[in-house]
């Protein structure tokens, strides 16, 4: 009689085990979101290394495997003394691992726990070193996407200011090249909420280095004041705070701090990426200037400083300013966007960019502006939602709300409709309807705040242009619309209602 024992799902890793014939495991250092990190000895070089293993349960999931590989490749390419050095990456008996230099010290999260808040000098060193590391990463088109105290390691003795900061965990980093292969799924929030940028909090799929700089500013704020600038009792509250509220100036929280730091934080924590520092170098140098003197170790940011406004990782954030075109990364479709203007024959100031930003939110399928005659003036999003559909939606909704009261006389109304598999939000601007259609996965609170903000922007543009009629008038020479792109052409006359169907729209 024989008995069979099931093989363990993942071979155990234990002190004394040898990995790929090169490393001998010594002791567990800690656990992260994706796996455990062990201290090990590099047998050939006879030096200590840190070996990170992906969890057995995650190993076979393509998404996690790709992220693990991405961490190794991203960190290895950067080659900065302020980014942890990757020595090796491989698979041993079914165990995926990354071997990194062994760091002696503690992460900033623990250091903050012990100290509450930090001195200006220590904070300046943290910001300076982090900017150096990020500058090199950004120059390669790599955004970290999870800058937080736990991922900033202080090597050496942090208590006497003699530390060297190294950035850890490029596990959620994204490069322009890899994005097309392993893009974040719609609705998936990656990063640590308290340190997220507004575009991360909205679930944007297109993040660049300016998102990292926002997160670094949140870390700096935490260091100087002992608490993060954005707080909330729940995750939605926190995300809404990041998206919509302005933090208290640091000099008010800590009266001894230079007033010039308030200006630095105002810019570093701007909601609009275009209003932030445009490079890590610029952020680091501005921080030094805000302190009133240069440090003894001036910033050495010789890596080419990426201009995020032209970097390939930049997408929808650009369209909010004076730019005349934007590339939608997921479809590689070039989208024509009108230059802002107040002339009477021009599409509303900022209208295409407002629609682009709404359509870019995670879980959103399309956004459009509909005129009082229920014609779609401009739209952006999935080709499965034709322009005329938005006008039809607005018409049905208008019919529905007429029973409530005279909605023609009112301004600034918001309607949110939740179906089993879809979300529809409408906001009126002087009789025009701003319409957003999303999946059931769209974050409702974030979407309604985004829609209100978009409506406020358009409202301001109509005031500039002397009314919605002028602001939203369509230029007759607009190019023909591209499927899935912003269009400025009113739709062709719609066929009779009974001939129309949009059953092809998919929401799951």
């Amino acid at each position: 009689m024989s008995s069979e024992r099931a093989a363990p799902a993942s071979p155990s890793i234990y002190p004394g085990a040898t990995i790929s014939g090169r490393f001998r495991i010594e002791r567990l250092l800690g656990r992260g979101s994706m796996g455990a990190v062990w201290r090990a000895r590099h047998l050939a070089l006879d030096v200590d290394v840190a070996v990170k293993f992906i969890d057995g349960a995650l190993r076979d999931e393509l998404d996690h495997r790709l992220r693990f590989e991405r961490e190794a490749q991203s960190a290895a390419r950067i080659g900065s003394q302020h980014v942890v050095n990757v020595l090796d990456f491989g698979e041993d008996d079914g165990r995926l691992y990354i071997a990194m230099e062994y760091l002696d010290g503690e992460d900033l999260g623990r250091f903050l726990e012990r100290n509450g808040r930090l001195s200006l000098a220590v904070t300046a060193r943290i910001v300076t070193h982090a900017c150096r590391g990020l500058s090199k990463a950004h120059a390669l088109g790599i955004a970290h996407r999870d800058v937080k105290p736990e991922n900033l390691f202080l090597c050496g003795d942090a208590d006497d200011d003699g530390f060297v900061l190294k950035i850890l965990d490029f596990g959620v980093a994204k490069s322009a090249h890899l994005e097309s292969l392993t893009g974040t799924r719609a609705g998936q929030l990656i990063g640590s909420p308290a340190y997220m940028s507004p575009e991360q909090a909205r679930g944007s799929r297109h993040l660049d280095g300016r998102s990292d700089l926002f997160s670094l500013a949140v870390v700096a704020y935490h260091c100087l004041t002992g608490r993060a600038p954005f707080l909330g009792d729940s995750l939605p509250d926190l995300l809404l705070s990041i998206i919509g509220s302005d933090p208290e100036p640091v000099s008010r929280r800590e009266p001894g701090l230079p007033l010039a730091l308030d200006d630095w934080f105002e810019r570093a924590l701007a909601k609009d990426p275009a209003r932030r520092f445009q490079s890590a170098k610029e952020a680091g140098q501005a921080f030094e200037r805000a302190l009133g003197e240069r440090s003894s170790s001036p910033l050495d940011l010789r890596a080419s400083s990426p201009d995020y406004a032209t970097s390939p990782t930049v997408t929808a954030q650009r369209v909010d300013s004076e730019l005349d075109e934007v590339v939608t990364r997921n479809s590689s479709t070039r989208v024509a966007v009108a230059r802002p203007s107040v002339s009477n024959d021009t599409v509303a100031i900022g209208l295409p960019s407002v629609l682009a930003q709404l359509a870019e939110l995670s879980g959103v399928l399309g956004a459009a502006l509909v005129d009082p005659a229920r014609s779609t003036i401009a739209h952006q999003g999935s080709a499965e939602l034709p322009p005329s559909l938005f006008g039809e939606l607005a018409e049905r909704v208008h019919e529905g709300l007429r029973a409530f009261e005279n909605i023609e006389a009112a301004r600034g109304r918001l309607l949110a409709l939740y179906f089993q598999s879809a979300t529809v939000l409408l906001r009126w601007i002087e009789g025009y309807a701003l319409v957003v259609v999303g999946t059931e996965q769209v974050h409702p609170a974030v979407l309604s705040v985004s829609l209100n903000n978009a409506a406020a922007k358009l409202q301001a543009s109509t005031e500039q242009a002397g009314g919605a009629e002028n602001a939203f008038r369509v230029r007759s020479s607009e190019p023909a619309p591209t499927p899935g792109a912003v269009s400025g052409i009113p739709p062709a006359p719609a066929p009779p209602r009974h001939q129309r169907t949009y059953r092809g729209a998919r929401f799951r």
Binding site: P236, L240, L389, E392, L393, R396, V397, E399, G400, L401, A403, F404, E405, I407, A410, R411, G412, R413, L414, L415, A416, L417, Y418, F419, Q420, S421, A422, V424, V437, P444, A445, S448, V449, N452, Y502, R503, A505, F507
Partner: protein, 103 residues
Amino acid sequence: MDTRATLESLKSVRGVARSSQDGEALASAGELDADTLCAVAAVSADALLQVGELLAAGSLERWYFVSEDSTYYVSERGRERLVAIGEPVRNAESTAKALHGAR
């Protein structure tokens, strides 16, 4: 469904009513004209259901509507619907969600 308990559990809401699908007020609590509001909600829901049909989005679950003076919340519950009226707010989502989750 205890409309009084629901009313007390929702901040920024001043009245709650239970309605049949046809718009008949079944119970209410707080400051609202339940008969009118339930009837109007029923008429409105018919048109709003067409939005779902256009999108093939499944049944309507809940909706809210913010006007200059008030916010109207409606939670569709099969043969009944729950209707509430409250203050105009910038972000009505949390109240709408709480009403929909009320038992």
